[in-house]
């Protein structure tokens, strides 16, 4: 495992990680939204 490093490649990897985590959260929100659509039968 690596220590926090300041090389470009490492930072890019870190950013990719952040992107992945944000995507995971967005996925959770989308699931919540889909469920809401389903139970209200699309009542917006």
């Amino acid at each position: 495992m690596k220590r926090p490093d300041k090389t470009g490649a490492d930072l890019l990897r870190n950013l990719a990680g952040i992107g992945l985590e944000i995507s995971l959260t967005v996925l959770i929100m989308l699931v919540g939204l889909l469920i809401a659509i389903f139970v209200t039968r699309g009542s917006f």
Partner: protein, 504 residues
């Protein structure tokens, strides 16, 4: 024998003192905030409190004996539990001096609520509080989420031979890195990056919804600190409702959900290990439980007409459920609305979400997803064994960063801790029951509030208030403390004290 014991106490006293000094030094931050905002009386209060705390802490450090200052497991845990307790009292002084808390106990309550990232508050007149005081509330939450021991490890690198034992006493047992000091630094790195990123994003959001830039920055910073650490404090008395903004709510969901993940997961993902997301037991467990619980609560709330449309269901149903499941405690409805508007099924769903909680080795509370996953797997394993006992079976395995065998010891440990959390929840319900008639609390509210405490969540159904009897406030405080430290170190402390009392 007595000499050894005294020496032991002196070593532990030294470490407790060290942590108290560190906390007192941190008061410089709110002191500066108040000075910038020209809240002079508050700045003075912080300088006073810092001086007092530093004196007490340095006094304890004087106790240090000659020679090695290593700690055994017991001593490490006793130190951690004690540091949290004494630290709480020192940090409560500025609150008490401000006049916004009706008693020193109330002030201690809010400190412990911050440390444990619970988020229940007894503060009075929050809408008129000084910026310095709010800074202290959120700083304590953010630091409490990381863990005080983690903080100490990072800054006092040289003098901490007993570091790892104190670290485990704080409820973290993930070895993010082989070296505990590197682990602490890694945790800080991730937290600081998200703090900066989050503050920039949330400040921009606040400005776009109409807040003045200065306030937008403070609110942005504070809400990120509170969200990331799954705390639950908000700068204004209405909580998240104050902002009246879907965008703001969405951004907070992103940060508090990410904040609820295990630090090991952050580190794995930040180092390019993308596959971990699909294999990690906690991620899978959380996706499953959150989907099921969101589905149940959404269905009930829609059916009952509480939130009949997609948007209202998403903002008032989903949001609060996820806030509860990650043990954050940001609420988009007023506390009493849970009691008055949500039906029994939705309340049960959100209660379960609060109890299960989120990931281990994070700022979140509750049973922790990994334990729920492990218990589930081990029950499946038991059923398989029953169905085909003659067949030789490979031991069940689970994946958390690496593949580990799910042996009986691990399964048992997971079950025991879950049982302890459930026991605490039930004890809290019983205690409330004693006062229910006097205050007019109904059972669903009691169950909800007790779960919120057990999981260090911070959502309230209206029971938590400064009018609570002191007995309950103390019970809440102990519950928050026990929940955050995952029982172990507090039990060790109790056992240690008991042994000492018996010997004397």
């Amino acid at each position: 024998m007595r000499r050894a014991r005294i020496r032991e106490l002196r070593v532990m006293g030294y470490y407790v003192g060290l942590i108290v000094v560190m906390l007192s030094a941190l008061m410089v931050i709110p002191a500066i905030t108040s000075s910038i905002q020209r809240e002079w009386p508050v700045a003075v209060d912080f300088f006073l409190s810092a001086g007092l705390g530093a004196t007490v802490g340095l006094g304890l450090m004087f106790l240090a004996p000659e020679g090695a200052r290593d700690l055994t497991w017991t001593q490490g845990m006793v130190t951690t539990a004690s540091a949290w307790l004494l630290g709480m009292m020192v940090c409560a002084v500025p609150y008490y001096l401000s006049g916004h808390w009706l008693s020193f106990l109330d002030a201690c309550f809010d400190v412990m609520s911050g440390f444990t990232t619970t988020g229940l508050a007894l503060v009075q007149d929050l809408d008129h509080i000084a910026d310095g005081l709010n800074m202290w509330r959120f700083l304590l939450t953010w630091l409490g989420g990381q863990g005080m021991v983690v903080l100490a490890i990072t800054f006092f690198v040289r003098g901490l031979p007993g570091a790892f034992k104190m670290y485990v006493g704080e409820g973290k047992d993930e070895r993010v890195m082989p070296n505990v000091i590197h682990t602490a630094r890694a945790i800080w790195f991730v937290s600081v990056v998200y703090l900066i990123l989050g503050t920039v994003i949330l400040t921009s959001t606040s400005i776009s919804i109409g807040q003045a830039p200065g306030r937008a920055f403070l609110h942005g910073l504070w809400m990120v600190m509170s969200g990331w650490s799954t705390g639950g404090f908000a700068p204004m008395s209405q909580g998240v409702v104050y902002y009246h903004s879907l965008l703001f709510e969405i951004v907070t969901v992103v940060f508090f959900t990410i904040g609820s993940f295990n630090f090991s997961l952050h580190w794995a993902l930040w180092n390019g290990n993308k596959k971990e997301v699909f294999r990690n037991l906690e991620v899978l467990a959380f996706m499953l439980t959150s989907t099921v619980l969101v589905a149940i609560s959404s269905w009930d709330l829609a059916r009952a007409g509480v939130y009949p449309t997609v948007v209202t269901l998403f903002r008032r149903g989903f949001y609060n459920l996820i806030s509860a499941h990650t043990t954050t405690g940001f609420g988009t409805i007023y506390a009493r609305q849970f009691a008055l508007e949500w039906g029994p099924l939705a309340l049960v769903a959100i209660t379960i979400a609060m109890l299960i909680g989120a990931s281990a080795s994070s700022t979140a509370g509750g049973f922790k997803g990994v334990r729920v996953g492990l218990v589930f797997k081990s029950i499946v394993q038991d059923v398989k064994r029953l169905l085909a006992p003659e067949q030789a079976r490979l031991a069940e395995r689970f994946h958390m960063g690496r593949e580990t065998t799910l042996d009986d010891r691990i399964a048992r440990s997971a079950m025991s801790i879950i049982l302890l959390y459930i026991a605490m929840w039930l004890v809290l319900i019983l205690l409330h029951g004693g006062y229910a008639a006097r205050f007019g609390w109904d059972l669903p509210s009691i169950i909800f509030e007790s779960a919120s405490l057990t999981g260090n969540v911070g959502l309230s159904a209206g029971i938590t208030s400064a009018a609570l009897p002191s007995v309950l406030k103390v019970a809440y405080l102990v519950a928050m403390w026990l929940g955050r430290l995952e029982f172990l170190s507090v039990f060790v402390l109790a056992g240690y004290l008991l042994k000492g009392w018996r010997k004397a």
